[in-house]
């Protein structure tokens, strides 16, 4: 319980932690260490999830079920979805960058509850390992990441229960993280810093954390009910006892739709940090950005049933959810136009960070547009549970969130390590990823429209060629990871020294040394009231410790 948490920043306890490389394997309370722990841990799970995706794509190169048994295929796709969402995107866009950046942005020396923070992180590796080990124990869960009953009740219980348990752990971790972020942003702000001075990522994280705190507990409760149905044979989702399987879907999506914004709002925030720096322009439309984030948060709670248009929901309900879902396009659109306006008239350095961010914009717009199409009941009736949906959400989670994660790594790597990443390798990485990604997922729209359902290991032979194209794209994506990995390892040791502020950025994390000292600033925290003051007269930016920053490059 929260009771045992000491007041913030018992400076000594942080200073007592192991030093050097070892501290990344310790129960460190330093938010920067925890942030990097999240990042690396998440990336390792991404590689595992990626290998599983590779297995899926290999299986799908032929229309028959040959590469693996049918139930193994279902286990693989369940693990793939669960790992990618709960162990990669959510912990990284929230936990990793949130922990690293938020204390800098609010001018604090650490998060509000450092110990809770470390606990939240250390719940993740065991949960992930447990999830993966279930495959070797008795077969992993095989009812998809949505775990719809009654299927999830009738499949082998051990795997499903382990799945439930580890998702509960991960949900708990994310709730603790959310509480911490809300408290840090609202309560730890440096005196003089107003909410409307905060960098956009703080707003994104505030919105996301509200979503986390309000929606994740519902998933937790639902999964507990599901586990009772499995273990104690209760009747929640058992029609024979009067239970109702559709109620599970409502509860599940009440969490899992907000969850998609948990995966993407922080990414929006990160892009809003990266673009102004490399375009040398203020973030366009700061205030409208803030309001649109909050609008997305509110709307995000009232759209869940768009995943259930074929579940026999009443007509009025479908109409309501169609309209509510469609309207999310308006605040999201505002954000996109603001980014384009940020690019417009800038002095854009076309480096890897910018390339990935712009790749994100392009991919996400496509994914968003198919999303709005899916929101229309009559349209969704045909393509629900087909590869069209698979294409939609990969365009958003991969083309959106993952692209942003890569962009952010290129942008903040100099802060993490003090070294620069190699630009040429970065560009190769971008090109391979962008081409591979589109090659892999664009054809899947056609597959869905023409009759290929999702979650199948065998399919109509007429789809063979298109599936092979898609698999080739996946191969290219897998290859694209190699230059990236090489770049990250090589640069950590042999990379060019970056200096404290290689991008001449104005946000507070750059106003200290790279990598930053243990309590973030040697002296007192700077007061940054114009984090995006590019192109302004330097004297107009009254940042306390930005005098030494050259406005000219």
């Amino acid at each position: 319980m929260t009771i045992s948490i000491p007041p913030v920043n018992e400076g000594d306890s942080i200073k007592l932690q192991p030093k050097g490389f070892l501290r990344y394997f310790s129960f460190s309370l330093d938010h920067k260490v925890i942030g990097l722990q999240y990042l690396v841990c998440g990336f390792l799970f991404y590689l595992i999830g990626g290998v599983l995706a590779g297995a899926i794509r290999i299986e799908l190169t032929s229309p028959i079920s040959d590469f693996m048994a049918r139930d193994v295929y279902n286990q693989v796709l369940t693990l793939h979805g669960t790992i990618m969402i709960f162990l990669w995107i959510v912990p990284v866009v929230n936990g990793a960058f949130g922990n690293y950046l938020i204390p800098f942005y609010v001018g604090a020396r650490d998060m509000a509850f450092p110990r809770l923070n470390a606990v939240a992180f250390w719940m993740i590796p065991p949960a992930g390992l447990l999830l993966i080990s279930s495959y070797f124990i008795n077969g992993a869960a095989e009812s998809g990441w949505t775990a719809y009953p009654p299927l999830s009740i009738t499949t082998p219980a051990a795997g499903q229960l382990i799945w439930i348990f580890s998702v509960l752990l991960l949900g708990g971790s994310s709730i603790f993280g959310g509480i911490n972020f809300i408290a840090t942003i609202l309560k730890l702000r440096r005196p003089g810093l107003r909410l409307m001075n905060l960098p956009m990522y703080c707003w994104a994280m505030l919105g996301t954390s509200i979503l986390v705190v309000l929606s994740t507990p519902v998933l937790a409760g639902t999964l507990v009910l599901l586990s009772f149905d499995i273990v104690a044979h209760t009747g929640f989702f058992n029609p024979a006892l009067g239970g109702n399987v559709v109620v599970y879907q409502h509860l599940f999506w009440f969490y899992s739709h907000p969850a998609v914004y948990i995966m993407v709002l922080p990414a929006f925030g990160l892009v809003s940090e990266i673009l102004p720096v490399h375009c040398r322009k203020p973030l366009f439309g700061y205030t409208t950005m803030v309001y649109s984030i909050m609008a997305i948060v509110v709307l995000g709670f009232v759209v869940w049933a768009h995943h259930m248009f074929t579940s026999g929901t009443p007509p009025w309900m479908r109409l309501f959810f169609t309209i509510a879902t469609s309207f999310i396009a308006v605040p999201t659109g505002i954000k996109f136009f603001n980014w384009v306006a940020t690019l417009w008239g800038g002095r854009i350095s076309l480096n890897s960070a910018v390339l990935f961010s712009c790749g994100f914009i392009i991919n996400f717009v496509l994914g968003g547009i198919t999303g709005v199409a899916l929101a229309q009941v009559p349209f969704d009736i045909h393509v629900h549970d087909t590869y069209f949906v698979v294409a939609h959400f990969h365009y958003i989670v991969y083309g959106g969130s993952v692209f942003v994660i890569f962009s952010s790594i290129y942008h903040w790597y100099p802060k993490f390590t003090g070294k620069l990443l190699n630009e040429n390798l970065g560009r190769i990485h971008f090109l391979l990823t962008f081409i591979g990604f589109n090659l892999c997922f664009a054809p899947q729209h056609w597959l869905g429209l023409n009759g290929m359902p999702r979650r199948v290991a065998e399919y109509d032979p007429q789809f063979t060629l298109v599936n092979q194209i898609s698999s080739a794209g996946a191969l290219l994506m897998a290859i694209s990871t190699l230059p990236f990995l090489w770049n990250v390892f090589y640069s950590a040791f042999k990379g060019t020294i970056a200096g404290d502020n290689p991008w001449q950025a104005l946000t507070p994390e750059w106003l200290t040394s790279s990598p930053p000292p243990i309590e973030n600033w040697e002296g007192s925290a700077p007061l940054v009231t114009k984090p995006y003051g590019y192109g302004l007269d330097p004297k107009a930016i009254k940042n306390e410790s930005t005098e030494n920053i050259e406005e000219e490059i």
Binding site: T2, I5, P7, I179, T216, P217, F228, T234
Partner: protein, 203 residues
């Protein structure tokens, strides 16, 4: 968030505005409140499920059950009284009167235990079991989950009570956080019970 009461030796500014006290104030109450909001959402999910079952799946004729009102009504009273006694404990602590504080705390914990006992009695006299039908399952899930909260609360109160012992306990009128945290939690659990009582027994 904290309930301010006039008393001679309390320091109101510490309780109302902790940020001015030191650079990094104590935000644990804020964190706890946020956590309770999250916890409340779990209950909200359960309530929503229960109400949906009621709306969509009309009771089959043979599965209708009658809930006795006497025991749960008594339970409601027990919990409401315990909220008041906890409040008195807090007031006593602010007066730096650990003895009285401990007494009120013990009474509160006792009321909690009485609640749990009477809940048990109800469980054993109910005409339906956990796996009879969806209503039975939901009934036990909701009351059980709440009962779990009460048990946790009773344990917390006992710890707080121990820590409030007079000469060298951790909890004094300078360190009221554990007591306040437990109190906020306890009020929360009581509030949930009132909603639960209305939805499960009265509707």
């Amino acid at each position: 968030m904290t309930i301010l009461t006039q008393s001679s030796d309390s320091k109101p500014e510490v309780q109302t505005n902790q940020e001015e006290e030191e650079e990094h104030g104590d935000h644990r109450m804020f964190g706890l409140a946020t956590f309770l909001v999250a916890d409340g959402m779990t209950f909200a999910g359960f309530f929503a499920a229960y109400l949906t079952y009621k709306a969509v799946n009309p009771l089959l004729p043979d599965s209708i059950y009658e809930l006795e009102l006497a025991l749960p009504a008594l339970n409601t009273i027990l919990l409401l009284v315990s909220s008041a006694t906890f409040h008195r404990a807090g007031q006593a602590l602010k007066r730096n009167d650990s003895k009285i504080c401990q007494r009120w705390l013990l009474l509160t914990a006792g009321l909690g235990l009485a609640f749990l006992a009477s809940q048990m009695v109800e469980y054993f006299t109910l005409p339906f079991g956990l796996t009879d039908n969806v209503y039975a399952s939901t009934f036990y899930a909701l009351t059980g989950f709440h009962g779990l909260h009460v048990s946790l609360g009773a344990i917390m109160i006992s710890i707080v009570c121990w820590q409030a012992r007079s000469p060298n306990g951790r909890i004094t009128n300078k360190n009221t956080f554990p007591l306040e945290a437990a109190e906020l939690y306890w009020h929360f659990v009581d509030g949930i019970w009132v909603i639960l009582f209305i939805i499960l027994y009265l509707l």
